[in-house]
């Protein structure tokens, strides 16, 4: 076995350099308030998928996204980087879906398109829960080799295997698994390529499937805000911080910081 079918999940998110807020109407992220872009953390996943493809002749990279119609731009970015085909799950009923519903929809789409390896960013820069890769492994019933700072694929063995350097708060571990499997990659695992002009032109001709919930045999009542397993009770903007002191260094600032730390019992 050497040709792999690699599915890379991407998400359109508000630009990470912009302010984010909740829509007061339904306490979901106000996506109209900021520019939507491909999640920066997902660009590392796309790059890693492309490198695995390039190292294993005959492999294909399928870019998968779930999101509103505008998320097609995000898919196009991944296609112009070099992904071969795209799947966009779009359905009005998906608005407000929580991580459980998101993982359900992604798992159904991944099963339908077929996969040897699923690649994701370690978390999204908007929700920042970091749970979807693990949830996908659970739903697909395959090993999770997540939080990778390094990925090695051995596609010559049967079945093919993946070995990753897994980086958690507790330290690093080397973990391995047989494919099919789910991996997630950390920021800076690689240097994502920029789409070339040729890549951008080629992307327009690449196959993009648009699937609804019905196409995936998912009941609309099992996703979306109403089906979420968690609910926001209330949300408030944090008030700006109370009184603060800003001084200009007149030669004694180090001492004055120490005074301040003592006054706060921090020293």
């Amino acid at each position: 076995m050497s040709a792999l079918r690699i599915v890379v999940c991407v998400k359109q998110v508000p630009d990470t350099w912009s302010e984010k807020r909740l829509d007061p109407a339904d306490q979901t992220l106000d996506r109209a308030a900021a520019d939507g872009v491909i999640d920066e953390l997902d660009t590392y996943a796309v790059e890693e998928a492309l490198r695995i493809k390039e190292a294993n002749e005959g492999s294909t990279v399928v870019v998968l996204t779930m999101g509103p119609t505008g998320a097609a731009d995000t898919v196009r970015k991944a296609l112009s980087m070099g992904a071969d085909e795209a799947v966009h799950v779009v359905d009005d009923a998906l608005h407000g879906s929580d991580a459980l519903a998101t993982s359900l929809v992604l798992a159904k789409a991944i099963e339908r398109t077929g996969f040897d390896l699923v690649v994701l960013g370690s978390e999204s820069t908007d929700a920042r829960m970091g749970v979807v890769p693990a949830m996908l492994a659970e739903r697909l019933g395959v090993p999770q080799a997540t939080l990778a700072s390094k990925v090695e694929i051995d596609a010559s063995s049967d079945p093919a295997t993946v070995r990753v350097h897994r980086q958690t708060d507790a330290g690093q571990a080397v973990v391995s698994a047989q494919l099919p499997a789910v991996i997630s990659v950390l920021e800076k695992i690689n240097e994502p390529r920029y789409p070339s002009f040729k890549g951008i032109m080629a992307a327009k001709a690449k196959p993009t499937a648009t699937w609804s919930l019905a196409d995936l045999d998912i009941d609309a009542s099992s996703v979306g805000l109403a089906a979420a397993a968690t609910a926001v009770v209330d949300a408030t903007q944090r008030p700006s911080r109370g009184e603060h002191t800003i001084i200009k260094d007149d030669g004694d600032a180090g001492s004055r910081i120490a005074d301040f730390l003592v006054s706060r019992k921090l020293l």
Binding site: T16, W17, E19, R21, L22, D98, A99, L100, S103, S122, T125, R128, M129, G130, V131, A134, M135, E138, R139, Q144, A145, L147, R163, R166, T168, D169, A170, G171, A173, V174, S176, A177, Q178, E187, K188, A228, A229, T230, A231, V232, V233, D234, A235, Q237, R238, R241, H244, T245, I246, I247, K248, D249, A253, G254, S255, I257, F260, V262, L266, L267
Partner: protein
């Protein structure tokens, strides 16, 4: 009172502070039941001191030789047998993975990056700090047992001595296919506390100037027994390891004290640190947005101010 399951974080029998925080929160909503994976009775005393009324030990190599899934199976079986009011897990990278998978198994609500837990009648309500701390959200699970991942440094652990009964639990047989752990190495920290758990963080940014000058940031950190953080500008420049990056795409910290040295405070960075309890900033540019967050700010050159601060700390600690 209903049980509250607490997944214990320990390294070689030493219980981490995040676990003591979980126990403190658990006592507010029920009877804390501590689950110790890959360890034994040596941690019992500490757990009892902070309120654990029962300690369940699961010492089986199957739990620690595969990634995440076996611990999920253990928790799943304990939820079934004890019907807890909630499951509390530290909101670390791995803790959140465990929480997420458990939520799928149980089709239950999962709440991550929680900073506080309370009861409203019989309902567990959590407080979360989202969008880098700019918005405070109260939330609840609407079905299943609430699976709550609590961010380290959210509460001060309070001793609440309880008599804890220690019993061993059997581990459910491995199901499904897992990633196998071949080897592991603890985080290399140069003797400093871990970034996400540290109660003091000293961070350097573009204003530090070079990789070599980060030694000054480390020196201040060591004077305060702090962890070292860095802004994205500093890690992108290769001045400090990427793992130390605090921000939207890096680590989120909420220490008692955060000292930002030469960091302008772009949203990218603020999103990772603005829930810190006390913030001190040193920056040359009086217009830098970090000063909007600072409790105490110095407009000045960190290369002058920081050495003086280090000397002052030494002087005051000596006196």
């Amino acid at each position: 009172m209903a049980d509250v399951l607490v997944l214990v974080d320990h390294v070689d029998g030493v219980v981490g502070k995040p676990t003591l925080e979980l126990l403190t929160l658990a006592t507010r909503i029920g009877s804390p039941v501590a689950i110790v994976v890959g360890g034994g009775a040596e941690v019992a005393e500490k757990l009892g001191e902070y309120g654990a009324t029962a300690i369940l030990t699961a010492d089986d190599s199957a739990l620690t030789s595969a990634v995440v899934a076996p611990v999920v199976s253990l928790l799943e079986s304990l939820v079934a047998s004890r019907s807890p009011a909630a499951v509390l897990i530290a909101s670390t990278t791995e803790g959140k993975e465990i929480a997420g998978r458990l939520a799928v198994r149980l089709d239950a609500g999962v709440l991550t990056d929680v900073v506080d837990v309370s009861l409203d009648g019989d309902t567990v309500v959590v407080e979360q700090s989202v969008f880098g701390g700019s918005t405070v959200v109260h939330a609840k699970a609407t079905r299943g047992v609430p699976i709550v991942a609590v961010r380290p440094n959210s509460v001060t652990p309070v001793a609440a001595p309880a008599t804890a009964e220690v019993s061993a639990v059997t581990v459910p047989a491995a199901d499904g296919r897992h990633a196998v752990i071949e080897s592991r190495a603890a985080a290399a920290s140069g003797g400093r506390p871990g970034l996400s758990e540290a109660s003091v963080v000293v961070a350097g940014g573009r204003g530090v100037g070079t990789a070599e000058k980060f030694a000054l940031i480390e020196e201040l950190a060591d004077a305060l027994s702090a962890a070292v953080g860095a802004s994205r500008a500093a890690t992108d420049a290769g001045w400090y390891p990427h793992a130390a990056q605090v921000g939207q795409t890096g680590v989120t910290v909420a220490p008692q004290l955060y000292i930002a040295c030469g960091i302008s405070g772009a949203i990218q960075h603020r999103a990772g640190m603005q829930t810190s309890k006390t913030i001190v900033a040193i920056n040359k540019d009086a217009e830098a947005p970090i000063f909007e967050l600072a409790d105490f700010g110095v407009v000045g050159d960190l290369h002058v101010v920081v050495p003086q601060l280090i000397a002052e700390i030494a002087k005051r600690k000596g006196s």
